[in-house]
């Protein structure tokens, strides 16, 4: 019998879809300066019925994890209908949200009607001054903390996501401390991407080399602490442990896929190469016949070979072919920065993360 890491590794290697991301809308109740979403509506977005049909297809393909994201997914007028349908179809649901609306009736309905596995919340600083500067919404930091407290009482599992920017890089340690105080995992992303339409304006907020080094040091220290704790604590739970070797650098287009509000299918949130549209073909057909996906899968195999030979801070770099493609036009080209490192800031290590 397999372990879960073995199943995940086989999915990467054999091109079996396990994770789907639905970008329900690019609209948002915040106006973050660095947001990569292109908010221009090009065509009519998918309807609730189209989402229902798409999710049935994904369930038939045995997709396990479904991420509902945006923009801010909660501003989608049919969010609860879509979320409830996803729950009924048996997905492990993750919600990516800025958290501002997650209080009162909305939080309660989320728990009762959608029952997500986890809510990933965006935090932009350790203080109201820095966080609210990014969201351009006065009071958003204090509201987020109140909402986290309320969701804790509802026993909703949460995690924090933070993009490192020139505005918050001096608060790295404080942001980790904030996550610790809240008892939440924290994920840092150190790459500020261009907008989906190629506009590079958000990159003016990219972190400085000093900021990236500061994050690297903080991450290294926390990894050491986590490893020490791991040695001291209990043995591996079921479903954990090392999987077999994988042939790809990442699962983009091999075990995961992103579908935007217009039905465009892309290998990953970061790799915005359109390989099909669910209004034109069933997702299973796109998955099995798209030449664009075949090319992406070949590139992720190639990336696995070339990334270890990059010059630069390879010890702290998790290379993203999608960002490389966006920034350089070459999915295998080195680019500066520290795209993503995950740090454990609580003892819960999120078993369905991978």
């Amino acid at each position: 019998m397999s372990t879960f890491p073995e199943i995940t590794a086989r999915a990467w290697n054999e091109g079996r879809l396990l994770d789907a991301v639905l970008e329900l809308t690019h609209r948002c109740n915040f106006d973050c300066f660095f947001c990569y979403n292109d908010r221009v509506l090009r065509t009519w977005p998918l309807t609730s019925d189209e989402y229902s049909d798409l999710m049935e297809q994904l369930a038939d393909m045995a997709v396990l994890n479904l991420t509902l994201t945006g923009g801010e997914p909660l501003v989608h007028p049919d969010f609860f209908a879509i979320g409830a349908r996803a729950r009924d179809l048996g997905f492990v649901i993750r919600l990516k949200s800025n958290g501002h609306l997650l209080r009162g009736d909305v939080a309660r309905r989320l728990k009762d009607e959608v029952a997500p596995y986890q809510i990933d919340l965006s935090v932009h600083g350790a203080t109201a001054e820095v966080h609210d500067r990014q969201t351009q919404q006065p009071g958003s930091f204090d509201q987020l903390l109140k909402n986290i407290d309320e969701m804790n009482r509802l026993e909703l599992r949460m995690k924090l996501n933070c993009t490192l920017t020139a505005w918050n890089e001096e608060e790295v340690e404080e942001i980790f401390n904030l996550a610790d105080r809240l008892g939440l995992l924290l994920n840092f992303n150190a790459t500020v991407s261009p907008k989906d339409n190629g506009d590079t304006a958000p990159m003016s907020l990219a972190p400085t080399p000093e900021g990236i080094s500061r994050l690297s040091r903080a991450l290294a220290q926390r990894r050491e602490e986590a490893q020490r704790r791991e040695k001291e604590e209990s043995p591996l739970k079921d479903g954990k442990g090392q999987g077999p070797d994988v042939i790809r650098h990442c699962g983009a287009g091999a075990s995961s896929v992103t579908i935007d509000q217009w039905g465009n299918v892309m290998p990953c949130v970061q790799w915005r190469r359109v390989v099909g549209n669910v209004r034109e073909k069933p997702i299973a057909e796109i998955w099995s016949t798209s030449s664009g996906l075949e090319e992406v899968r070949a590139l992720t195999v190639e990336a696995k070979k070339v990334v270890p030979h990059f010059d630069g801070p390879a010890d702290v770099t998790i290379f993203c072919p999608g960002i490389a493609d966006l920034l350089t036009g070459d999915a295998l080209a080195f680019y500066p920065g520290l795209p993503s490192q995950e740090a454990t800031s609580s003892s819960d290590d999120g078993a369905v993360d991978h």
Partner: protein, 95 residues
């Protein structure tokens, strides 16, 4: 007659390559079950009674009937102890 079961409300599962990947959302962990258990989980999910699940398993698996029925009962007990399935109260009884 044995009680009927249902998949626990916080549990999500998929059958992948004949194995069941089961996520216990409350515990935040993942369990993997073999082919027979995967089929049992599927049939519980479809609302079949233990008797019906046994009948299906006898039809589908190549082993002595008594052994299959015993395995099904064992799996159901194990799944219940792991909070993957829960026992439904008999009709007319409060849960």
């Amino acid at each position: 007659m044995p009680s009927a079961f249902r998949i626990a409300p916080d549990v999500r599962y998929r059958v992948i390559d004949d194995e069941a990947v089961v996520v216990r959302q409350r515990e935040g962990d993942v369990l993997v079950f073999n082919q027979v258990a995967a089929r049992v989980i599927q049939l519980v999910g479809e609302g079949l009674s233990p008797q019906q699940i046994g009948d299906c398993a006898v039809d589908e698996f190549d082993a002595p009937e008594a052994m299959i029925r015993e395995d099904v009962e064992t799996f159901l007990d194990e799944l219940e102890s792991l909070n993957v399935v829960e026992r439904l109260a008999p009709a007319g009884q409060d849960s």
